[in-house]
């Protein structure tokens, strides 16, 4: 019966170590144009540049004969290499050295070689101890690689030689792999943090000069579990220079959410109808994440049609990380009439957005408290009041806009030449601000034409694309703010701390009568948090639900919580995790 993660996790002592697969692929702009093979070869084909096709298992009488299970084939030089047929690669005569000369159109920094039956690979004066998957530093447009067999009874087999660096790290070479998968359900300090991976692997050859060419943001993939039941592949990106010291290579990476810091969202109008404001916010949320450069792997749909009244808000300039963090904080506990309006983004190598209760992609795990070590539990201080910390705006203001477009209030009587830029910073906010003809022209007028470069609530940049004969003006729909509150009090009326919080937007958007930026819902957040050590499961994600069972059988003392952090460690062949949680009802 195939081993599964669930079956092994049910055991107090897991009977099999988890397999860990980490891959780092650093491509090269240089391509190898020719492969010249010399030496006594038994068989070869021209597939040394193809790392994807498997080597064909040939009937071979070395090493005590070949397996009679049907996996070995007779050598057939007419069989076309392909992904299905496999390939021959290069196979030397038993005990014979094979030499491969490669040439490239531009400088190759390094090549990755997959081989077996090889003791050393020599390039000029450099000798590399072969491990099966080896990086050879080149720094030239050509190189001659000499493959020496492990002994006089072994055949050199070369699978591929490709430009760049490819590490396929498995338990055989892995020293440790630590993942810090992060979520955040804190009301006060709710900034969503990036997740990290750190890999240490043993590599006997000194390739530090080749590692110097690896840039940040190259992808690292991670999977773990058992071969018949592996976790979803997580993707991280190199965040620091890769180092090699005394044969140990250290690779550090972060998830795609590190891009949230690199994109600033400009001040902008954000409008929504009262009939589908939550869906509109969800769409905006997804757009902001994707605009930051994050490719979402899983994305739940949420359809809605425009209905009701159009309301307005202005998002101040902020980083995408602040936008994502604030939207999640203000919506995660928002429920009405049995419906859940939470909006959430989880990355940890599998960028995912979803809404509702977070169980479309998020999973629920049952964990027995008796299986947990280092159990800690604490309560945050009760929040008795949330107070507006920004003197410029209040919580849940109302923005009204004039019903008629106002022109000339901003600027009038302008003229310009083709390609001339105009930039205006307005007092207050204007919707639909744009340049246009000052008045209806006479038939002989040539109209000005423009391209809008940037349209923000209080700033307009445009360029003249066609010169006209009549002066043009700039105008828009002016807006005003009314109402709003300076604080919200906790309905439980219990003593606690005051938490200062900056209103997320100017104005307010409502779905029905509920504000979609829902400050009162923050009081629903449980104060109860904790942490424990557990066996570790590579499938777990931040914000997944956990039912922590107290083993009494009557449900007393059970806790329903959501995961706020996972520190998953693979080390010395074993796997364990430190999990932090917040109670969730």
């Amino acid at each position: 019966m195939p081993t599964t993660i669930n079956a092994q996790n049910a055991l107090q002592i897991r009977e099999k170590p988890m397999e860990v697969y980490i891959s780092l692929r650093v491509g090269s702009t240089a391509t190898i144009s020719t492969y010249t093979v010399t030496g006594q070869t038994k068989s070869d084909d021209s597939t040394l540049g193809n790392s994807a096709w498997p080597m064909r298992t040939l009937a071979d009488l070395q090493d005590g004969g070949f397996l009679l299970d049907g996996t070995a084939q007779w050598y057939d030089s007419t069989l076309t290499p392909s992904e299905n047929n496999g390939k021959l690669g290069v196979r030397g005569d038993i005990g014979e050295t094979i030499t491969v000369t490669i040439t490239a159109g531009s400088t190759l920094t390094a090549v990755t070689v997959a081989s077996s039956g090889v003791s050393t690979i020599t390039k000029g004066a450099d000798t590399y101890t072969a491990t099966g998957n080896d990086v050879v530093t080149i720094n030239s447009t050509s190189a001659t690689l000499v493959f020496t067999p492990t002994d006089s009874t072994t055949r050199v087999e070369i699978d591929y030689i490709v430009p760049g660096i490819m590490f396929n790290i498995t338990n055989d070479t892995l020293i440790s792999c630590t993942l810090a998968l992060r979520g955040n359900l804190d009301v006060k300090d709710h900034t969503w943090e990036e997740s990290e991976i750190e890999v240490k692997m043993y590599y006997p050859n000194d390739i530090s000069s080749s590692l110097a060419y690896i840039q940040n943001d190259w992808p690292i993939t991670y999977q773990a579990g058992y071969d018949s039941d592996l976790s979803t592949e997580r993707k991280f990106y190199i965040s620091e220079p890769i180092t090699q010291e005394q044969g140990v290579i250290t690779i550090k990476g972060v998830d795609a959410s590190h891009l949230l810091d690199e994109k600033t969202m400009q001040e902008q109008w954000f409008s929504a109808y009262t009939g589908n404001a939550h869906q509109t916010l969800y769409t905006k949320f997804i757009d902001a994440i994707q605009a930051a450069g994050i490719k979402l792997q899983r994305k739940q749909s949420w359809s809605g049609s425009q209905s009701g009244t159009l309301r307005y808000s202005v998002l101040p300039e902020m980083s995408t990380r602040d936008f994502v963090s604030d939207v999640m904080n203000l919506t995660l506990n928002h429920t009405r009439g049995g419906s859940n309006f939470s909006i959430q983004f989880v990355d940890a190598g599998i960028p995912t957005v979803e809404h509702g209760n977070g169980k479309t992609y998020g999973q629920t795990w049952t964990i027995y408290k008796s299986d947990c070590g280092e159990w800690t539990e604490k309560y945050d201080q009760n929040i008795s009041k949330i107070i507006d910390s920004n003197s410029e705006r209040k919580i849940n203001e109302t923005i009204t806009t004039s019903n008629v477009l106002v022109y000339d209030n901003i600027e009038s009587g302008l003229t310009g030449n083709v390609n001339q830029f105009f930039e205006y910073n307005f007092d207050g906010w204007y919707r639909y601000a744009s340049p246009f003809p000052a008045s209806s022209g006479v038939p002989s007028d040539t109209p000005y034409k423009f391209t809008i470069i940037s349209r923000q609530p209080s700033r307009l940049v445009f360029k003249v694309t066609q010169k006209g004969t009549r002066a043009f003006t700039v105008g828009g729909q002016s807006s005003a703010i009314t109402g709003g509150v300076d604080s919200f009090s906790n309905p439980n009326k219990l003593p606690g701390i005051n938490v200062e919080m900056e209103p997320f937007v100017y104005g307010n958007l409502t779905d029905g009568t509920d504000s979609i930026f829902n400050y009162p819902s923050l009081f629903k957040r449980s104060l109860r948090t904790g942490s424990f050590t557990w066996k570790g499961d590579p499938r777990m994600q931040p914000l997944d639900y956990i039912n922590i069972s107290n083993d009494t059988g009557d449900g007393r003392g059970n806790i329903t919580a959501r995961i706020t952090g996972i520190e998953l460690t693979h080390e010395e062949g074993g796997t364990s995790a430190k999990i932090t949680w917040r109670e969730w009802s």
Partner: protein, 123 residues
């Protein structure tokens, strides 16, 4: 020819099987922690032969030379009830008393030799 049940191979040299040589196997555990109820939770990641000390009452001069010239790590081949095993080991200690003498046939014999070894591979 010596019966291979009475010999082991150390670094490709056939040597008398040491006194009371019964290689033990020990399970290896990792990711270990103790629960709040005192249980041990861990992953059984495999097994290895336990570290041991090979002891001989007497060795020939050739065998002694092979042992004194051992590198840092080397292979040892031996039989147990499960068949023949070749394992890579590292030397952890070596001791012998200065009791070199010549037997009736004129061969040099060394007495009371000890070699500590640690098996480095897991299965």
């Amino acid at each position: 020819m010596i019966d291979n049940r009475n010999t082991i191979t150390i670094n490709n040299v056939e040597i008398f099987r040491p006194n009371d040589f019964t290689p033990e196997r020990e399970d290896l555990y990792a990711g270990e922690y103790t629960t709040c109820t005192g249980k041990t939770v861990a992953d059984r990641i495999g097994w290895k032969f336990s570290d041991t000390t090979l002891e001989w009452d007497m060795l020939t001069d050739d065998m002694m030379s092979a042992i004194t010239s051992l590198p840092g790590s080397f292979d040892i081949t031996f039989n147990d009830s499960d068949g023949s095993h070749t394992e890579t080991v590292i030397k952890t200690g070596f001791a012998n008393t200065v009791t070199r003498f010549t037997n009736n046939l004129g061969n040099i014999i060394w007495k009371d030799v000890k070699l500590g070894i640690s098996f480095i591979n897991a299965h």
